[in-house]
């Protein structure tokens, strides 16, 4: 299975380097990859349906718990077959659809990557590796949506889609880690046994919320659905493959996968029913107002995704069987409709429902496929769609408390879905062929054959549901933790209430189709409500967040150096000050232990203090520099008094050098200005004094602490005996801590090099110098 997953990635890597040779007629050969994989997975069908679970385990990052543990059970098998099967048709279709496109190789590369990711996602038993593949599907989707990268709308949609699904991805990551934390394992199959324990843990609700977040964003549930219609900016094969048949089902897959682990609580069910219910109805209503074929299909896809979530929420055997069937059904007919839309778009250049009609006259096979798909989506017997719908009603009716409401909701949705299917599958082909379309001709067989195959398949499965019942649906329901055997799929259930509901649905749907004509006016009408649509709200929020970000950033990074200094100093003073004053053994100052104060020290300090004050208030820069000289010189005297002759010498030399530097550059320096007003000065003084007081207090507190002179005693004792020097400070500098000194002179050297370069190299003076950056 690892090989199967990797195949897709290898294909894309191969295309990166050999792509240009595969762009032309050879492109169609790439369809062999999904075909091969389809056959490969098909070969497991007997073993899986007999209850066997095939596993493979490859260690990757065991230390982090992320391994490539693959499990093939009923649920994953169904998905792998959809991914590879529809993948095969889409790959083939693309060869014709994007024939001669400059970047066809890239397109296949993304598709291959997506297919690999999707297979990895549905095969992973390890929650983390599942997340990994989940993210990769989002990324491949991003690249595919933005494939027409010169179009701004494409780019925006791609970013929006990734923003929504990506945020869901992060929720999944958090959920996965939390779940792994609670369960002590990342193996989903091991978690099944721990289901009760997890449900009782404190974190259960949080885990479920996080996973729901992931599933709802990925599967376009209300209110996160809006990225999906936007994603239709992608080329039609992408819409077919990712945004109807496979990727958007990843959320559904996630919910199904975790039903046995987390699905035992009311919270789980209720939330899913509500969200799914709202989604399916809300999206279905939206189909009424779309004139773009893809728009209609996108909303009907969302609606079906809602329905699936709804069914999982119901959680009964019927519901899950229905979900399983619907996954298959929807994949088949929706893929068909998308592919047809692609053909229409490709051949006529428009997808406007109001403009299209009579195309059956020029593309009969496509029209037939459309008809079959529409019938299937409508749930007209003998299609599998009918079967699916029946199961839905069975399921809703089985819910004791909410049966009526839910059933009504389901019926209303189905009526609208029927309408949508007809609009997409039948309307373009019926009626009179407009003149401008008379020259339209059939596309390459690579394009029309795939929808026909899918449509026929839908029909066949409807007539012979046994084809999927035992091999696919039952194992699926089994792997979700319920007894799949209990439900028996058959087309004809006899005359019963459910059949009546089906009939009602059909009648309502037909009526709607014939009475309601989609038009641009209606589309515009509903767009007036856009401002309360989740997308607008989100975009509004994001614009708001952006301006907040701007504000926040400009507030902090306001370009004013003194604000930066103020902030940093205030932060320091508040933080350290708080710590100093809140500490248990707050400092106590014992002046008795200190040395006595003499008048000459007081004089020196006094002079120094005055000199500092002079420097601060000086109105001339040279005055300030001279004042600084006095400060430095007073420090020298202090160094002398406190027994540091080397320091005094160095300090004095350095001070003088600094003065010389100042004096040498001062004539080039600006005049003193005093632009701050009084309030600013008072504020600055407050901040500065705060720091000064803090430092003084810390200093006083520290000198009251006991001293440990082990290190300096060693220096004193050994300076002459071991290091042969009597000036201990110098011995420290050149021997005990010589490395410091070596680096100190390195600093000086670098500074000098820098000064030299700063003064001699002037790029902006010479316009003829090449600028590198």
């Amino acid at each position: 299975m690892l090989a199967a997953v990797l195949t897709g990635f290898l294909l894309s890597i191969f295309l990166v380097f050999a792509g240009k040779y595969f762009k032309g007629k050879l492109a169609v050969l790439s369809a062999l990859v999904p075909l091969g994989l389809f056959l490969y997975f098909l070969s497991f069908i007997n073993r899986v349906s007999s209850g066997e679970i095939i596993t493979q385990s490859v260690e990757w990052v065991p230390a982090l718990g992320l391994n490539l543990d693959f499990t093939l059970d009923g649920l994953s098998l169904l998905f792998t077959l959809l991914i590879t099967g529809i993948g095969f048709l889409v790959f083939a279709y693309t060869a014709a659809y994007l024939k001669g496109h400059e970047y066809l190789d890239r397109f296949y590369g993304y598709l291959g990557m997506f297919m690999g990711a999707m297979l990895g996602l549905v095969l992973s038993d390890n929650l983390l590796s599942m997340f990994l593949f989940w993210e990769l599907t989002s990324i491949s989707s991003f690249f595919l949506i933005g494939f027409n990268n010169s179009s701004e709308a494409s780019r925006k949609s791609a970013v929006l889609a990734l923003a929504v699904t990506g945020s869901g991805g992060f929720l999944l990551l958090a959920g996965a880690l939390l779940l792994g934390n609670v369960a002590g394992t990342y193996s989903i199959s091991e978690m099944v046994a721990l289901g009760d324990m997890i449900a009782q843990s404190e974190s259960y609700i949080l885990i479920v919320v996080l996973l729901f977040g992931a599933a709802f964003t990925k599967s376009a549930q209300f209110p996160f659905h809006f990225w999906l219609p936007g994603a239709m900016k992608a080329p039609t094969p992408v819409s077919t493959y990712l945004h109807s048949a496979t990727m958007v089902k990843a959320g559904i897959y996630l919910l199904l996968r975790f039903t046995p682990v987390l699905g035992s609580t009311e919270f789980w069910n209720t939330t899913l029913i509500i969200v799914g219910g709202i989604t399916m109805f809300y999206a279905a209503v939206h189909t009424l107002f779309r004139t773009d074929l893809k728009g209609v299909l996108a909303y009907s896809t969302i609606s079906v995704l809602g329905l699936l979530v709804f069914l999982i929420g119901l959680g009964t055997q019927y519901a899950l069987v229905a979900a399983g069937v619907y996954i298959v059904v929807h994949a088949l007919y929706k893929a068909t409709l998308f592919l047809i839309t692609g053909i229409i778009d490709h051949e006529t250049g428009t997808r406007d429902v109001t403009a299209l009609s009579g195309l059956r006259k020029v593309m009969m096979p496509v029209a037939i496929a459309g008809l079959l798909a529409a019938i299937s989506s409508a749930g007209i017997p003998p299609t599998v769609g009918f079967l699916g719908k029946e199961l839905v009603y069975e399921a809703t009716l089985g819910m004791a408390d909410w049966a009526v409401v839910l059933t009504v909701l389901a019926i209303a949705t189905n009526i609208l879905v029927l309408y949508a299917g007809f609009v997409a599958g039948i309307k373009p082909f019926t009626g009179k062929l407009p003149e401008k379309f008379e020259k339209v001709h059939m596309p390459s067989y690579l394009m029309w054959l795939p929808p026909v195959i899918l449509a026929v398949l839908g029909l066949l499965i409807g007539i012979y549901p046994a084809v999927i019942e035992a091999p696919l649906i039952k194992p699926l329901v089994d792997s979700v933790g319920l007894e799949g055997q209990a439900v028996h799929l058959k087309l004809w259930h006899g005359f019963n209430f459910v059949l009546g509901l089906s009939a009602l649905t059909l009648a309502g749907g037909f009526l709607l189709y014939f009475l309601w004509k989609p038009s641009e006016k209606k589309e515009n009408a509903i767009s007036k409500l856009d401002f309360i649509a989740p997308k607008s709200l989100l975009l509004g929020f994001s614009a708001g967040f952006r301006s907040f970000s701007s504000m926040w950033t400009n507030f902090l990074q306001n370009g004013l150096l003194r604000n930066y200094v103020t902030t940093i100093v205030l932060f320091l003073v508040v933080l350290v000050g708080y710590s100093l004053f809140s500490g248990e053994n707050a400092f106590h100052i014992n002046t008795e232990s200190l040395s006595e104060m003499t008048f000459y020290e007081v004089v020196i300090m006094g002079v120094m203090f005055m000199a500092v004050a002079f420097v601060v208030v000086a109105r001339s820069r040279l005055g300030a520099v001279v004042g600084m000289g006095i400060v430095g010189y007073a420090i020298c005297l202090l160094f002398v008094i406190y027994s540091a002759p080397d320091l005094a010498m160095t300090q004095f030399s350095i001070d003088t050098l600094t003065v010389i530097l100042f004096v040498l550059v001062l004539s080039g320096l600006p005049k003193y200005i005093a632009k701050s007003n009084l309030i600013t000065r008072i504020r600055d003084a407050g901040v500065s004094i705060g720091l000064g007081v803090l430092v003084s207090l810390i200093a006083l507190a520290v000198i009251n602490e006991p001293v440990n002179k082990e290190v300096s005693d060693f220096y004193a004792e050994n300076a002459y005996i071991l290091a042969k020097g009597k000036n201990v400070v110098n011995v420290i500098l050149v021997d005990f801590r010589g490395t410091d000194t070596l680096m100190e002179i390195a600093v000086l050297t670098i500074a000098a090099l820098g000064v030299y370069s700063l003064l001699k190299l002037r790029l902006d003076k010479d316009e003829n110098i090449e600028k590198e950056n």
């Binding site: 880690l177 926040w552 950033t553 990074q557 930066y564 001293v707 002179k709």
Partner: protein, 503 residues
């Protein structure tokens, strides 16, 4: 003697730096010597790393004065790894500089100062003495001043003023902290301090001291609300300089924080709350900052800040898992950020601007380069299984262990915003067609470069991208290294023994 090995990276870099000063203005010599020297240095670092990996933490006493009297250099797994990464990034930038910097800059001491900077970085990672650490920091600062201002263009100088002021402030705070530490213990040797600080009775002063270090190193690490110098300056120098800055400078601050808060001070509840609060706001402020920028270099600058938050979060949580995540992120970030700034350099070269509004058309024109650039870009986002993804697993897990949902929220939010920032950048720079800009005179457009020069620009990016891919796909190895490091950090006795046992 193998123990000498600990100092070999420093000795070699110093040798190289001094030698390069002698070759002042002989730039073609400098280019070759720098590149060859960087390769040799990489070899030495690998050697050191393997030695440490096999034999555990090693210490050496400079001047042969037994600890705590001389200056000790210590290579534990963390130091050895960071030295190795510095050498990797150094090699890449050395070659990139040869291709990207104009000869005027190279003639005025770029290479010597660049190697001094690498020396300073390695010294900071290897030293076991707190004052010596200060000295290495100053080497780093002065080198970065010089590199930042080399060329003296207006933006460079403006940025440098802020850079200078705030970094000087940081040095003063650092020095203040050292003064307090010395006043309390009379020692400077970090292993010795680990013992002596624990014995101090006045814990309140110890906490004060720890906070001083936190602020001093926090400025260097560019955390909230101390990061102002970074966005003001990082985008102003040539991209080769930004690359080494973005990759390594702030990381030294992070390293120092990790070192002092694992070895010398303990993270008590108050400090923990402070650090986690800082981490959250750093993650947030950096990310929202990146969100509103239109200049590629500025975007990356803010992302540097934001992602420091991950490491600080790991430090704040201070569990083994959390530290593992922080260390892993540190490794990933060094490689990726270095690479990204080089990428931004090439982007600038293509059209002569870094303005995302004007840029575009990369994907159509340079598909393979785009793919190459996608590696660091998406690693940065942490798209699994690329390198940025793995450490987040540890960090979030650690957050759940501590039930600190705030920090998890911060990590997720920053990750999400990074994703948005990068995909928008991708859409703007790579997808969009872009404006047709008037041709600049004397601007060496990428297309006009000779093949050799193009190789000099692209080879380092390929090299670092491979390293990134290795970190991603070989995450198991990097993770076990990080685990080992965090174990070593949490068990300081190993470090102390290495310093005091004269083995």
């Amino acid at each position: 003697m193998m123990q000498q090995l600990v100092m070999y990276p420093l000795l070699f870099q110093l040798f190289l730096s001094i030698g390069l000063i002698f070759l002042w203005k002989k730039i073609s010599w400098q280019k070759w010597i720098s590149a060859v020297g960087s390769v040799i240095n990489l070899g030495i670092s690998v050697w050191l790393f393997i030695h440490i990996w096999e034999n555990g933490t090693q210490g050496i006493q400079a001047g042969n004065w037994e600890a705590p009297f001389g200056i000790t250099f210590v290579a534990d797994a963390l130091s050895a790894s960071l030295v190795l990464l510095t050498s990797i990034a150094g090699l890449a930038v050395s070659v990139f500089s040869a291709g990207s910097l104009m000869s005027a800059r190279l003639k005025f001491g770029f290479y010597p100062v660049f190697h001094f900077l690498l020396l300073g970085l390695c010294g900071a990672f290897l030293t076991g003495d707190i004052f010596n650490l200060y000295v290495w920091f100053e080497i780093i600062i002065i080198c970065s001043f010089v590199l930042l201002t080399l060329g003296g263009e207006k933006a460079q100088l403006e940025g440098a003023m802020k850079y200078f002021t705030l970094n000087f402030l940081a040095s003063v705070v650092f020095l203040t902290a050292i003064a307090v530490l010395y006043g309390l213990t009379g020692s400077l040797n970090m292993a010795d301090l680990a013992v002596k600080v624990a014995e101090i009775e006045n814990r309140s002063l110890v906490q004060v001291n720890a906070l001083l270090f936190l602020v001093g190193f926090g400025i260097k690490a560019a955390v909230f609300p101390l990061f102002f110098w970074l966005p003001a300056s990082y985008h102003t120098p040539p991209s080769a300089v930004s690359a080494i800055f973005g990759g390594l400078l702030t990381k030294v601050g992070v390293y120092a924080l990790i070192r002092v808060f694992t070895l010398i001070f303990e993270v008590d509840p108050f400090i923990q709350n402070v650090i986690l609060g800082i981490a959250f706001l750093t993650l947030f402020s950096g990310a929202v900052g990146a969100l509103v920028q239109n200049n590629v270099m500025k975007v990356f600058s803010y992302l540097v800040i934001s992602h420091i938050g991950y490491m600080i979060a790991g430090l704040g949580m201070m569990t083994e898992v959390a530290l593992t995540g922080a260390i892993f992120y540190l490794f990933h970030d060094i490689v990726v950020k270095t690479n990204l700034f080089m990428v931004s350099g090439i982007i600038h070269r293509v059209k002569g601007t870094s303005d995302m509004k004007k840029l575009g058309g990369f994907y159509g024109k340079y598909p393979l380069l785009s793919l190459l650039f996608a590696i660091p870009l998406f690693s940065l986002v942490g798209i699994p299984p690329l390198s940025g993804f793995w450490p987040k697993l540890s960090l979030i897990s650690a957050g759940f262990d501590l039930e600190n949902y705030w920090i998890i929220a911060g990590i997720l939010l920053a990750s999400f915003l990074t994703l948005i920032v990068i995909v928008k950048l991708w859409a703007a720079v790579f997808w969009k067609t872009g404006e047709k800009l008037p041709e600049q005179r004397n601007f060496p457009y990428f297309d006009n470069l000779k093949n050799f020069q193009k190789t000099q620009l692209i080879a380092p990016i390929v090299f670092l991208s491979f390293v990134t891919l290795y970190i991603g796909f070989g995450a198991e190895n990097i993770h076990s290294l990080s685990v080992r490091i965090s174990e070593e950090l949490l068990n300081k006795q190993m470090y102390i023994d290495a310093v005091f046992n004269k083995s």
